[in-house]
């Protein structure tokens, strides 16, 4: 049973849970990040992180060091740490500005697995790799620039803390080395290469039909890369081996996460999390986590991106063929739980490689927690294009 929380009337741009899942950091399409605390049945706002002066685009919460990093269109990132307020003594989140040295918006941010550095994707055709310099007590940024040709939309860390995957609006997904010699130990040779100085290009994959790469993710072992792109397709790339591409008949996916070494959950403009399964021999879509039984209405316009004769399509068609200009159906509820684009999907419960639950947030302001085991086939009502 998916757990559904309406956390905001506004879109949720990004979300990140703390280690024990008792608190949640969200950005509600504004300049502020909110800390929400679970009070048994609902998520209540308990603290506001206000420092950015443009919309926050991404949030990540380091589980072990309990630090939050936020990235924003104001070209800055802040690292937030809990410390006692000097006047009142209460524990509050204190920001530290990180000079990213980029002159376009920051688009996505992720802590590395060891939490000693983080990567910030940006519209400046660069990725800022930030690590802490204890001598000067600040975060220093080193830029990955080549061969990125356009805005970087997503990043994901390899479990070895050195390699970074990046998806970009130049239609490519890349694997790059983010090795910082001051803090990283030399990584063992792996499938992506043996010598890995900073900015080594380990692999480059183009999206099948030329779409922006919205999301990238390494498999739990780090040996496989999956990415979703705006040509409504998902690609699973094996270094030096096959690249499997699955074309969807629906609207594009924008975010994805691996649940086990042979399965992926991905979601996007289609408003429901889809499950893919496979191995180096081949991949296929096996179903959806949204079985459609939670829909408030059974007679709505169906699914987004499907052709149907109710909703807006029907209204215009009636106007055209019968000269009726009034909208006959006011019911615009979709059959899916999320009522708008899912912007972020993240592992919620379970160790990497054995994820049992994932969380999604969407433009409809909802947070949903899904069991990855309850996959239902994408047949009948949920898949049908009710013409």
């Amino acid at each position: 049973m998916p757990e559904i929380f309406s956390i905001s009337p506004t879109p949720v741009t990004a979300h990140a849970f703390n280690a024990d899942r008792s608190q949640l950091a969200v950005s509600l399409n504004s300049n502020d990040a909110q800390i929400l605390t679970h009070n048994g049945s609902q998520w209540a706002a308990t603290e506001m992180l206000t420092e950015h002066d443009k919309t926050i685009t991404s949030i990540d919460w380091a589980p072990n060091s309990n630090q939050i990093v936020t990235a924003s269109q104001d070209r800055n990132a802040y690292v937030w740490q809990q410390s006692p307020d000097p006047k009142t003594g209460t524990i509050v989140w204190k920001p530290t500005l990180v000079l990213l040295r980029i002159n376009r918006a920051a688009t996505h941010v992720r802590w590395s697995p060891k939490e000693d550095k983080f990567a910030v994707a940006s519209g400046d055709r660069a990725i800022a790799i930030c690590s802490f310099d204890p001598e000067n007590n600040w975060w220093v940024s080193k830029l990955l620039k080549k061969p990125i040709r356009s805005t970087v939309l997503a990043v994901d860390w390899h479990p070895n803390n050195v390699l970074l995957a990046a998806g970009s609006a130049d239609m490519k997904a890349r694997v790059l080395s983010a090795f910082i010699k001051e803090i990283d130990e030399r990584p063992a040779a792996g499938v992506w290469g043996s010598k890995l100085p900073f900015n080594t290009i380990c692999a480059e994959f183009a999206s099948a039909a030329g779409g922006w790469v919205h999301g990238v993710a390494f498999s739990p072992s780090g040996d496989v890369l999956a990415f979703v792109s705006h040509d409504s397709s998902i690609s699973i790339a094996y270094p030096g081996g096959p690249v499997h591409n699955i074309r969807m008949p629906t609207l594009p996916l924008v975010t994805l996460t691996w649940t086990t070494e042979d399965s992926i959950v991905a979601a996007g403009h289609d408003c429901q999390p889809l499950v893919f399964s496979g191995s180096d021999a081949g991949w296929q879509e096996i179903g959806t986590l949204d079985d459609g039984s939670h829909a408030a209405s059974k007679t709505g316009p169906g699914l987004t991106g499907r052709l149907n004769k109710s909703g807006a399509f029907g209204a215009f068609q009636n106007a055209d063929s019968r000269g009726q200009s009034s909208i006959t159906s006011t019911d615009t509820k979709l059959l899916t739980i999320h009522q708008n684009t899912i912007t972020s999907i993240r592992p919620y419960q379970g160790a990497p490689g054995q994820v049992t639950q994932v969380s999604t947030t969407a433009v409809d302001g909802k947070l949903v927690i899904w069991d990855t085991a309850s996959v239902s086939a994408l047949t009948g009502r949920m898949a049908a294009m009710s013409m």
Binding site: M171, H230, R247, P249, T250
Partner: protein, 156 residues
Amino acid sequence: MDGAFRKIDIDAFDEDIIQESELYEADPRDPAQVLEEARARQSSVRGFLSKNDVVGALTTVLENAPYGPNVEDAKTISLQTLLSILNNTKSTEISNVVKSLSMDCQDTLMKYLYKGMAMSAWADSNASVLLSWHEKLTEIAGTGCIVRTMTDRRTV
């Protein structure tokens, strides 16, 4: 407030501007060769049509379709060839024909349908045919097929 500054192409002041050619892999074939192939296909399509093999004719014209710059003539010939096939197919057959096409061919067919609709001089005489093919193709290949037509820089 005057919004004219928003129309300034700020990328033009960037030395390292991204070029159209970097967005997709160029067709390895020579433009003259592409044109020749397009003409050859035109005649083989006539052969398929005389045998009433619409799927064979469509596959011939949709596989390795010309794309990219400098092949405008080949593109025009291919579109003409394709329209002659579409016009020669009974509307009751369309669904079955589309179903037997590969996904690549379905995507390319959608590109041609939009190209056909965009060319006003041709669209006028072919509008109903293009629209009925579009309807059937979308039923089978989904909205994803339309999304790919919009995103793919390898325009036909």
